[in-house]
Symmetry: C2
Subunit: 355 residues, 2 copies
């Protein structure tokens, strides 16, 4: 049901019954390296171009997520997919192999949150029984799309983020898994769980609006996106009459360390202190000191792979009971940038709880 | 509810309570010219760039649609928006002015159908009370995004389509209009109806999947998209156990005259003859003999503006009782094209009925 100004509440929760992460070699060397389901030995993933490699990431992530849910791809009624490339080609060329109905989605790096909200609405509304949500990014295809040729070797300021090569896929359903193995085995083999217990559930969310603070620095996306994250989180608290205390973690997508400070400041001005609860996927996925990634990781694949590898694991293990997952996106394009436009942003919030 | 393999059925119909079209000067000179709500005197719409002009198209279309529904923009809970440009900048920069929650959507020229299906699911599922769906295209921004600089003056083969400069917006709700004026007045002033009767209703649809016939000709989008349209229409017939006889019109988005022939042939091979029922928005919007538009109009704005100006008018006037509206999209990007990829396509079908 609709709740408050810009939120939805799922009176019957939607279960995440399978999920998977596939990442590149650099992400595999980072702090979360051992948690990902699949790490590429190089970043081409057997493909002939970076864009095709990104398509492969999505294809593999969906396949693994579906298998971990004890299903086959043909069991899916619908896939929501998105990426950062022009005309979302990573998604279209990746997902076409499966011949499953596709809803293409674009919300820049917030797309993971958007697909989860759309997928939840489709399941909760009874329009689909099994839905997959998948997003991806690839460092090299993103640099080609948005910035310079890699061979140019341009210097990056410290506020810049590093686009994650990765994809995360999530299978949503109104019912629990079909089961098979026991829950004991499940606890031992978290990454290949086939027991009847879903990994987590989505109980609501807040749909973001485009927020434009007039910032134009394409090497400081964190600052561009923090106002949008603050707007969505603030409106989420209003719509649900909650405070940061109601969450074990409030997790943004890819603000990085520059955006994090701004977000905390902006919400403090509005009366909410999230400093003890906040975590940013972009700050978890790399080790900036050792990996030269500056402000953190970014891209559609950053929060998606972190959600699968780290966040859902912690929720399933009971470490966190309720999390506000807030992917953040910056509306940045070569064309708008070259025409002198600012970088507006958006953030969508998803409430994920332990089952 | 979910129906068949890839369809949804709305047991409680979703009403289209307001809609509007805004187009450029060439479209205003075409056969539908007098039916559009607003025709620009030039194609810049007071903006400084073509992309900004396209954003203005969306902004104006939403404003007019909302007003014709007897509402204000603030009454909207949610907007689904999309366009053809990289990172959907026409939508983001256009819709940001309204500060309404935004779901960005990308399905190439099928996006109008995708937004209507997503919007219908949001309303029918009770997740939003009032939703706007808007899509746009602009001849000049599309040429810049996909083909050559306009000044290059390249020759176009006869199979090429002409990207429509236009936008169509639709306001969806579960309830009928608030009313005000009488139905008599409504009949006289079709374009400014304020009576209690909605313009039409959406009762279901079929979500398309990506279909790739391996065609690579960027100047023959009709041929690339026809197999996707055939796939969706065929599966629609299967899922609903219907035939062409159940529809007054089966209306594709922008196949043009080349794609039309292929679609009719493909469906005939599968046992359905739609030749007497088929209409294509791209073939309605221009006069190819006088306007040098070759195979027809195309773009996200083509079927959206035709739906508002022509199709919904005919439905409201009772000429057509039930229409299958099938926007078609081709997954074409500079990058995939330059890498030698084919042009996969998708089509989404929406069942629109007289109230």
């Amino acid at each position: 049901m609709h709740r408050g100004k810009q939120s939805i509440e799922l009176t019957n929760p939607v279960y995440i019954i399978g999920h998977a992460s596939v990442v590149g070699s650099k992400e595999g060397e980072g702090p979360l390296g051992k948690l990902f389901d699949m790490v590429g030995s190089d970043d081409m993933f057997g493909a002939e171009s970076w864009e095709e490699a990104e398509s492969t990431l999505q294809k593999d992530a969906v396949y693994l997520a579906v298998k971990k849910a004890g299903l086959n791809v043909e069991d899916l009624d619908l896939i929501y997919a998105g990426d950062l490339l022009g005309q979302s080609i990573a998604s279209a060329f990746g997902i076409k192999e499966y011949a499953i109905p596709l809803m293409g989605v674009f919300g820049a790096c917030s797309t993971c949150g958007e697909t989860l909200l759309l997928g939840s609405m489709a399941v909760a509304g009874g329009f689909a029984n099994k839905v997959a949500c998948v997003t991806s990014s690839h460092f090299a295809s993103a640099e080609k799309e948005f910035r310079y040729p890699l061979a140019y070797g341009s210097q990056r300021p410290l506020s810049a983020t590093w686009t994650v090569t990765g994809s995360g896929a999530f299978v949503l359903a109104s019912q629990q898994k079909n089961g098979g193995e026991t829950e004991d085995q499940c606890d031992q083999q978290m990454n290949a769980c086939k027991c009847g217990k879903p990994d987590a559930m989505i109980v609501g969310g807040t749909i973001g609006r485009v927020v434009d603070f007039g910032l134009k620095d394409s090497f400081n996306m964190g600052a561009c996106m923090a106002p949008a994250a603050a707007d969505t989180i603030f409106n989420h608290f209003q719509d649900f009459q909650r405070t940061p205390e109601d969450y074990d973690k409030i997790i943004t997508g890819d603000l990085g360390n520059v955006g994090q400070k701004i977000l905390i400041d902006l919400l403090r001005e509005k009366g909410f202190d999230i400093s003890q609860k906040h975590m940013d996927c972009g700050m978890e996925i790399f080790n900036p000191d050792k990996q030269d990634t500056h402000a953190g990781g970014s891209g559609c694949g950053c929060c998606a792979s972190t959600l699968s590898a780290l966040i859902l694991r912690n929720i399933k293990e009971g470490e966190w009971k309720r999390v506000l997952f807030v992917p953040t996106g910056a509306w940045f394009s070569k064309t708008s940038y070259n025409e002198g436009k600012a970088v507006p942003a958006i953030a969508h919030a998803v409430v994920i709880e332990q089952v």
